[in-house]
């Protein structure tokens, strides 16, 4: 490899153009008409479509390998166990975790955050303590902490965002006090597209020995995540937002913290030995994986990670950055449109409103053009309150979207004005 790199005219894999048309062939669902128009799927922040490789992995598992894991001595159980643990290794490498023991499979980012709130949180947050979040969080990174704070008599503190939708770091830092027991912050805002300076946030919090949980649901499919570089303590991810099946995701946690945390759910697989007098819990990561897990979808997640690796996360990032920049430019040209969320560091998400036209009406008219977008509050009601709007229209991009689709979106928005006058 290194000898090739020295040759000036050699084409290195990273310089091969990103062939989006070829990528699209991997996604069967994209090749259909909706209301007589080619489907333009721009709702990727809600969920992404699945490549053949993932769909086939599920079919293969259920038609060849289905079995319970970690217990049988028979061939099928061994195959299922190997495939399941292979997925863990794939995830570990994908986010550069130090150890596979630090990857806990859960239903999704929501469950991952609840797990931390209910174990680490219940153990470490007490009366008068504080949990610090930001004003741009998804409900899944608000409500689990509210539940915890209510139970413990603790206080939920919220760091403000500016008009662009960026976290006000100075205010955030001021809110870190000796009462703060944990910080929970989104890596990439689903409603605004803002990328938070997680590394800086972690540094600030760690300076006061406060651990940081990062909600990575939107970031994991869109940018290179290196949990050791970020130095975050927990990182929560949903598989279905990164081209894997629904119902599977993972929690990364530093081994040292996970070891010290009480288990969350009790049951099979999470124990080393059980008597009626005393149960010894299993080692990591199994301590947090009670009961038969979602084996098939975990394997699907592993395959999705492989798929992303093959395409190259850096190239996906570049492709989506181009789409977002182009969409921002094209949508901004349309009279009466206001973009909500104009952070300098931004990815994947374009939220906007149109004067005197409600997002739902825009959504219906775009749908009639075969364009799928999300309209509503995007499970981030406090963000809507911050901008004093009931809802936005959100176009969110994925690795298979094209510039043509951006143009279709812009045409669709112009049609809204035509239809509604």
């Amino acid at each position: 490899m290194s000898t090739v790199a020295k040759t000036p005219h050699a084409i290195q894999p990273e310089f091969v153009a990103y062939d989006v048309q070829k990528v699209r062939e991997d996604f069967p669902i994209l090749h259909q008409q909706v209301h007589g128009k080619p489907l333009v799927y721009l709702d990727n922040a809600a969920t992404t479509q699945k490549p053949f490789a993932v769909i086939e992995a599920l079919e293969h598992y259920y038609s060849r390998d289905n079995s319970n894991i970690h217990r049988g001595v028979h061939e099928l159980s061994e195959r299922a166990t190997n495939a399941y643990e292979k997925a863990r290794a794939a995830v570990q490498q994908f986010i550069n975790a130090a150890d596979t023991r630090e990857i806990i499979f859960v239903r999704g980012a929501t469950e991952a955050i609840n797990l931390v709130a209910q174990t680490y949180g219940r153990k470490n947050v007490g009366t008068g303590d504080e949990v610090l979040i930001t004003a741009m969080e998804h409900h899944s990174n608000i409500v689990p902490w509210q539940i915890l704070c209510e139970e413990k008599g603790a206080k939920l503190r919220v760091a403000p965002i500016n008009e662009r939708g960026e976290l006000v770091l100075e205010e955030f830092e001021k809110l870190l006090t000796r009462n703060t027991k944990i910080v929970a912050v989104g890596h990439l805002s689903n409603a605004l597209g803002t990328i938070n300076p997680v590394k800086k946030i972690v540094k600030m919090a760690h300076a006061q020995n406060i651990p940081v949980l990062v909600d990575g649901a939107q970031a994991a499919p869109r940018m290179k995540v290196d949990v050791q570089d970020l130095d975050c303590d927990f990182y929560a991810v949903s598989g279905h937002k990164m081209y894997a099946p629904t119902g599977i995701g993972f929690l990364y946690g530093k081994a040292r913290l996970l070891e010290a945390m009480p288990p969350w759910q009790g049951g099979g697989d999470m124990i080393a030995s059980v008597t009626f007098e005393k149960t010894v819990y299993n080692r990591l990561p199994y301590k947090f994986e009670a009961g038969t897990p979602n084996i098939a979808d975990t394997i699907g997640l592993g395959v999705a990670v492989e798929y992303l690796n093959n395409l190259g996360v850096d190239r996906i990032e570049e492709h989506e950055a181009d789409l977002l920049a182009y969409a921002t430019q094209e949508v901004q040209k349309i009279p009466g449109v206001t973009i909500i969320g104009t952070a300098r560091e931004k990815a994947g998400v374009l939220s906007f409103i149109m004067e005197d036209i409600h997002p739902h009406d825009i959504g219906t008219i775009l749908d009639s053009e075969g364009i799928a977008v999300r309209t509503g509050h995007h499970c981030a009601q406090p963000v809507m309150q911050r901008y004093n709007i009931p809802a936005t229209v959100r176009a969110s991009f994925g690795l298979y979207n094209t510039r043509d689709e951006v143009e279709a979106l812009a045409r669709g928005i112009r049609k809204v004005r035509e239809v509604l006058g």
Partner: protein, 150 residues
Amino acid sequence: MSDDRELRDLYQEVILEHSKKPRNYGVLQSADHQAEGYNPLCGDHYTIFVNVKDSAISEISFQGSGCAISRASASMMTQALKGKSQAEAEALFTRFHDLVTGHGGDANALGKLAVFAGVSEYPLRVKCATLAWHAMRAALRGEQQAVSTE
């Protein structure tokens, strides 16, 4: 298959006109009935105010915000209900509901409200068209809690 014709059926001129210039819009001071309709997912939020005199609706108004369909529906509802008894209002509620959910019924009996027939082609928008109606019914029935059609 949806096409522009269906879209124009949904967003008829009358509907767009009412959504831009809603009738009976505003707070009715000293209303003896009022109720709130709120769909948190989409953010549509209305309050319906009603005064009943001699067992008929003497005054009715609405206030709030939402999409074109919900706004026009609220506006045209207030026009249709003035002077109606509670029983008549309930009957109209049912007819309107049947119309927008595609359960047929007598469109003629709905008068101008028949323009909402196009909603039945858009099941996801039924909640928009019926929000003000549910709030109106809750107001007449004296229900305290905000209603939702989501």
